[in-house]
């Protein structure tokens, strides 16, 4: 990873972290409502993948999708406005946290149905292949999603059609309150790649360089027309599944041991060690992002509510093809 990419990945991780910390705060103070799932602790995966995607590449994401959206270029202000259901949000307040999308910029959407977005990425990859472009599609999903039938169906088709799609399973050890081991028959979800003749690789999802290595290889493979890769990133979510989760399914020790593996602190240590940024510069960066998030919050709070008389708009596209 070159210096500029490292700086980008660092910045993206900070935006994700601080965006979500703020979202949690706004939720707790009743300034936003609904289902808000935080990816705090998992930022390295989204940020690293995002750094290697171009605008024209595609992603699909999940209920835990703020990080993926930001890494694919979403603005914090419009994303925050969407979390508040405001008209300036990415979906004009129609979608909320679980459906942030920006199709023109290649974010085909978060998806509130577990596994629901996986085939959409494969479809975008098929479309790229049909249109003869070198676009690549990435789909993020959780350990839990790998037990849905649609995971299986999509990997099989992506393999036989050699689609330029990369499957990224963020194994954060839990699906809601359920430990992955209790419901998943294999230790490493990556081994499931073999059932489709797809390379499966396990990476440390809290280490940007580990993610980078596997992802670059997958990108190369996809662009060469050799088909998909399944990457399993072992990581951890620090917060509850949902805001208010009593978290009785895991110990404080487990949580704090993972906090010690904070992907941001780890990258910052590397940056200091390799003299990419000083501690001072890092602190300044944090402040910059804090300001960005302040600004996003203000924008979202000040944005208007949607007009109820528009509620039936956009069920259909009435325009010409």
């Amino acid at each position: 990873m070159d210096k500029q990419t490292i700086l980008n990945v660092h910045e993206t991780m900070l935006v994700i972290r601080k965006f979500e910390e703020r979202a949690l705060n706004l939720f707790e103070t009743n300034k936003l409502r609904g289902s808000v799932h935080l990816s705090i602790g998992q930022e390295a995966v989204a940020a690293t993948v995002g750094a290697y995607l171009r605008d024209e590449d595609y992603i699909t994401s999940t209920h835990r999708g703020h990080g993926h959206a930001i890494a694919k270029g979403a603005r914090a202000d419009r994303a925050m406005a969407e979390l508040m259901g405001k008209v300036t949000g990415y979906c004009g307040g129609r979608g909320g946290s679980m459906h942030i999308a920006d199709v023109d910029k290649g974010n085909l959407g978060a998806n509130a149905i577990v596994g629901g977005g996986i085939p959409h990425a494969a479809g975008a990859a098929l479309s790229a292949k049909m249109r003869g472009t070198d676009q690549v599609a990435v789909t993020f999903f959780g350990d839990g999603a790998s037990n849905e039938g649609i995971f299986h169906e999509t990997l099989n088709m992506a393999s036989i059609w050699k689609l330029p799609v990369i499957f990224i399973c963020e194994n954060n050890l839990y699906g809601m309150t359920t430990n992955v081991e209790r419901v998943t028959s294999v230790k490493d979800i990556a081994v499931r790649g073999a059932a489709y003749d797809i390379p499966g690789v396990v990476v440390d999802g809290n280490d940007v360089f580990s993610v980078e290595k596997a992802f670059k290889k997958a990108l190369k493979r996809a662009k060469a027309g050799d088909g998909p890769t399944l990457i399993e990133a072992k990581t951890y979510r620090w917060k509850g599944h949902w805001t208010g989760d009593p978290e009785m399914y895991r110990s404080r020790d487990e949580v704090s041991s993972w906090k010690e593996k904070c992907p941001i602190l780890r990258l910052e240590a590397h940056m200091i060690e390799n003299q990419l940024l000083t501690e001072e510069q890092i602190r300044t960066k944090h402040q910059e992002i804090d300001q960005l998030i302040d600004e996003a919050e203000r924008f979202a709070l000040e944005s208007p509510e949607p007009d109820p008389s528009t509620v039936l708009d956009n069920v259909f596209d009435e325009g010409d093809q």
């Binding site: 409502r33 609904g34 289902s35 259901g85 405001k86 979906c91 307040g93 129609r94 979608g95 909320g96 679980m98 459906h99 509130a112 149905i113 577990v114 596994g115 629901g116 839990g144 999603a145 037990n147 849905e148 039938g149 649609i150 699906g175 809601m176 309150t177 359920t178 209790r182 419901v183 998943t184 009785m248 399914y249 509510e305 949607p306 109820p308 509620v311 039936l312 069920v315």
Partner: protein
Amino acid sequence: MSKKKYAVAIRDVIAEEMRSDERVFVMGEDIGALGGVFGCTRGLQKEFGTLRVLDTPISESGFVGIGIGAALTGMRPVIDFMYLDFVYVAMDQLLNQAAKLRYMYGGRASLPLVIRGQQGVGRGNAGTHSQSIEAFFTHIPGFKVVMPSNAYDAAGLLRTAIRENNPVMFIEHKALYIQTEEVPDDPDFMIPFGQAAVKRSGSDATIVATSLMVSRALEAAERLAEEGIEVEVIDPRTLIPFDIDTVITSVKKTGRALVVHEAHKNNGPGSEIASQIMEKGFRYLDAPVARLGAKACTLPFSLVLENAVVPSVEDIIQSVHEICYH
């Protein structure tokens, strides 16, 4: 009688039936240690163990199918769907399998199977977590369809469902779980399917309302009474079977009817009910039967938009005005 929340009433009936019938078991996502997102299985795994309170992977189609296999072979599964919207991923197992196997096997099999889940608005969960989708199960034959609007009914109907030899869609409402009611302690307290409850009597118009809409209809009725319009409010409690007789008896008296539900109005369950009222009560009708349901768009995330989509007390009042001043 004990005062209980709707969620607790459900939990208690499941527990009692599991105690008295070894064949009853529950399966679903996060039902064990957590006790379900809404607490409807709280404490059960501790009492009955991890086999009879079976936490599943996120594999709805597969575990509904597994429930079917278990039901065909002597067990009585109660499957927890967390959000009923997720049934779409399991629709084949529900509508092509559970609903049809007994019939296709010439009656030589029974499927004692309860599918429980909640639906509706109330938690800002947006389009794929706020739907009301009972109409799928009233259209394809094979399921009994139950929609309790309060804790008392939830208890009595759930016991009937668990003791029933057929697939039952037991449709709860997320906004009702904290609703409280006196519930009989009798461990055999059952409400038969197909018996509507007349929640309020009145002579000027009949409202048929289901689930969360029952309370809105009652509120509208109180406000209409202030203007001198006396509304009869009927909660059918089960849509399959449907107690049309109670509704027609009411319409004979009132000459006017409105059907209110949270499902989409277009081709919603109210279309069937309105059509039946017309078929069986045409000569008593002084006005067309009115229908209220969610507007024809996906449930939006924004609260102001969501409120504009689902019938409100004001919408009900306005609709009653329209049929009364027709």
